[in-house]
């Protein structure tokens, strides 16, 4: 379990020079204070590749997420969102949309299994683009809806 892992603490980071490169074994524990100090001192943290973990990633197969877009209806909403998704190689499995009294509400079901952006990165891109157009865009893992609405 956790007993064999390296542990990186704040004290270990404090001993390094600024902007140093720190290579650690895959799966190492890096504490919150260590991460804060890493960010503050511009240290480059790299995890060694772990072939076992990568193989596991491959096996996961499909990964679905749900994106929602809410805001005032305007030209180019679908183009904006689908453009970002296409650029990250995210496939849109289903779209439904309604416009109620000028308010636009869209739900997209996405397949992230070939996505070239990781989840957080994609989420940020969508949120930022949404803000520029005055839209609220969320991206959530499918499991949330699966767990809440299906037994």
């Amino acid at each position: 379990m956790t007993s064999m892992k390296d542990v990186i603490t704040k004290a270990k980071i404090a001993a390094l020079p600024d902007h140093a490169e720190l290579r650690v074994a895959a799966g190492s524990v890096v504490t919150r204070s260590a991460r804060e100090l890493i960010a503050a001192r511009g240290i480059n943290l790299r995890f060694d590749d772990d072939p076992a973990a990568e193989a596991q990633e491959e096996e996961r197969g499909t990964e679905h997420a749900i994106a929602t877009v809410i805001g005032r209806d305007q030209v180019g909403i679908i183009a904006l969102v689908s453009g970002i998704l296409a650029a990250s190689h995210v496939n849109i499995l289903d779209i439904s949309q309604t416009v109620l009294q000028g308010f636009f509400a869209m739900v997209m079901i996405l397949d992230l299994s070939r996505s070239q952006s990781d989840f957080a990165e994609l989420q940020q891109k969508l949120e930022k683009a949404g803000e520029e157009m005055g839209l609220k865009i969320t991206l959530q893992h499918e499991d949330v809806f699966q767990y809440m609405h299906r037994v």
């Binding site: 379990m1 956790t2 007993s3 892992k5 542990v7 990186i8 603490t9 704040k10 524990v29 890096v30 504490t31 919150r32 204070s33 260590a34 991460r35 804060e36 679905h64 749900i66 929602t68 809410i70 499995l93 289903d94 439904s96 309604t98 509400a105 739900v107 079901i109 989840f119 957080a120 989420q123 609220k136 969320t138 991206l139 959530q140 893992h141 499918e142 499991d143 949330v144 809806f145 767990y147 809440m148 609405h149 299906r150």
Partner: protein
């Protein structure tokens, strides 16, 4: 299509998060420290620090990953450990404050806001280690920031240790004095229990019980705001329909707890323990248990009918929650902390809610007199007697009760105490001026009740 969610279902979930404060209240990692005992307390401290950092070093990071991918915030990531009295006992030292400091340092290193388990279980009597831990409490709580403490003084099976009850009255007074500059903040990190659960993920009372595995992930759900809106939207519903409505909502909330617990467990490679169904309020607007009771038709929380309303709420939450998770545990009920719940605090300020009414409510809710500020000059014996009352309710009703009283130094009825953050703030509530000193000074143990004879 592999999917079958309707747009309504999807927006219902979004709505819960965006508008109704749906969140996961806490992911708490329980860690056994039994293998850290050492005749040298310093060496024990090193082992404890090393073990907590190793096991829980990635807890905050993992929690944040889950928040991002599920789009639901986790308010707290915390750690609970084996009661320190058990771990420190084999050392010859008399003062366990150094271990509290170790826990505080470890909590800071891994970035958790509270660490629970500076605790002793003394429901039938004290060992040497228990006494030393209890004596260390006032200093430990005043010198550390993140350490939470609990003392179990009674159980249904063993009765109530009245020596411990009397002692805790004094400990609470002294802790308040030592943190007088912060309105007695130290007492907000100390719970006195009867029937303390071993797998409770909620602070300040969390500790990792002796029957628990090496390491475990427990989850506490939240969501008073979601239930509040469900109740508000059905002002005319009769009680059967109201209960059913709360049940359905509690089910959905608890499913989120189950999802987070299972996913965190997989990511961290640590077994999943329980989901605690407690409705936990926060000082945020709309995240109040008192407001749910008021939405049921009471002018103010504390009005006649409040106990019945809480019974409806508490039971429906359990029924819905029990269906949603295969591993329910911890406290699992509604919390009624005064300072942490805006509606409760308001009702107390306006005089609608008194300590006596709160005591009645604790017969049916999950924890007892929680975060109640009382006058700073309340005698230790009176505090002990309030603890005894609560412990008796727990003992006779086979339920958990706890007491987290803050005798705010220098403050009188009508003044206000502020603790900040999730601990909130609240009014100083009136306590009966009649003395209980002779009763408390009897000492000994209240025998186990008839309810204990179940075999």
């Amino acid at each position: 299509m592999p999917f079958s969610y309707t747009q309504d279902e999807i927006f219902e979930t979004i709505n819960m998060v965006e508008l109704e404060n749906l969140d996961i209240r806490t992911i708490t990692m329980g860690i056994s420290l039994r293998d850290c005992a050492d005749p040298d307390l310093k060496a024990a401290g090193r082992k404890i620090y090393e073990k907590i950092v190793r096991y829980a070093g990635n807890l905050v990071e993992t929690g944040e990953q889950l928040e991002r991918s599920f789009g639901i915030p986790i308010i707290n990531k915390r750690v609970a450990v084996t009661p320190i009295a058990l771990v420190a006992e084999c050392s010859g030292d008399d003062d366990y404050c150094s271990l509290a400091q170790v826990l505080d340092d470890a909590a800071r290193e891994i970035g958790v806001n509270f660490i629970g388990g500076f605790a002793a279980l003394v429901h039938k009597g004290f060992t040497g280690g228990d006494i030393k831990l209890i004596d260390s409490l006032p200093r430990a709580l005043s010198e550390t920031e993140r350490v939470c403490a609990a003392v179990n003084v009674g159980t249904t099976r063993s009765g109530i240790n009245m020596e411990a009850v009397a002692k805790m009255g004094e400990v609470i007074k002294e802790t308040a004095q030592r943190t007088a500059d912060k309105d007695g903040l130290g007492c907000a990190k100390l719970v006195v229990f009867c029937n303390a659960p071993e797998d409770n993920p909620f602070m300040a009372g969390a500790f990792h019980g002796v029957g628990e595995p090496e390491c475990v992930i427990n989850v506490g759900v939240s969501g008073p705001g979601v239930i509040l809106n469900a109740v508000r939207n059905h002002p005319k519903a009769d009680f059967a329909s109201l209960a059913s409505l709360i049940k359905q909502t509690a089910f959905k909330i608890t499913r989120m707890g189950e999802l987070f617990g299972r996913t965190a467990s997989r990511k961290l490679g640590i077994p999943f323990g329980v989901v605690d169904l407690s409705l936990a309020p926060t000082p945020a607007v709309g995240d109040s248990v008192a407001e749910i009771l008021e939405a049921m038709g009471l002018e103010r929380c504390g009005a006649p009918g409040t106990t019945a309303a809480l019974a409806v709420l508490n039971d429906a939450v359990k029924k819905g929650g029990a269906m949603a998770s295969s591993s329910v545990g911890g406290l699992s009920g509604a919390f009624i902390p005064v300072s942490e719940d805006q509606g409760m605090a308001r009702a107390a300020v306006e005089g609608a809610l008194t300590i006596e009414k709160l005591e009645a409510l604790t017969c049916i809710c999950s924890v007892g007199l929680d975060m109640v500020v009382i006058p700073g000059d309340t005698p230790a014996e009176t505090i002990a007697a309030i603890i005894a009352d609560e412990a008796a309710i727990g003992m006779i009703n086979k339920k958990t009760t706890g007491v987290r009283l803050i005798p705010a130094p220098g403050k009188k009825k009508g003044d206000r105490a502020e603790f900040g953050g999730l601990l909130g703030g609240g009014p100083v509530m009136e306590v009966s001026g009649y003395s209980s000193a002779a009763f408390i000074n009897r000492g000994g143990r209240i025998p186990a009740p008839l309810q204990a004879l179940t075999n």
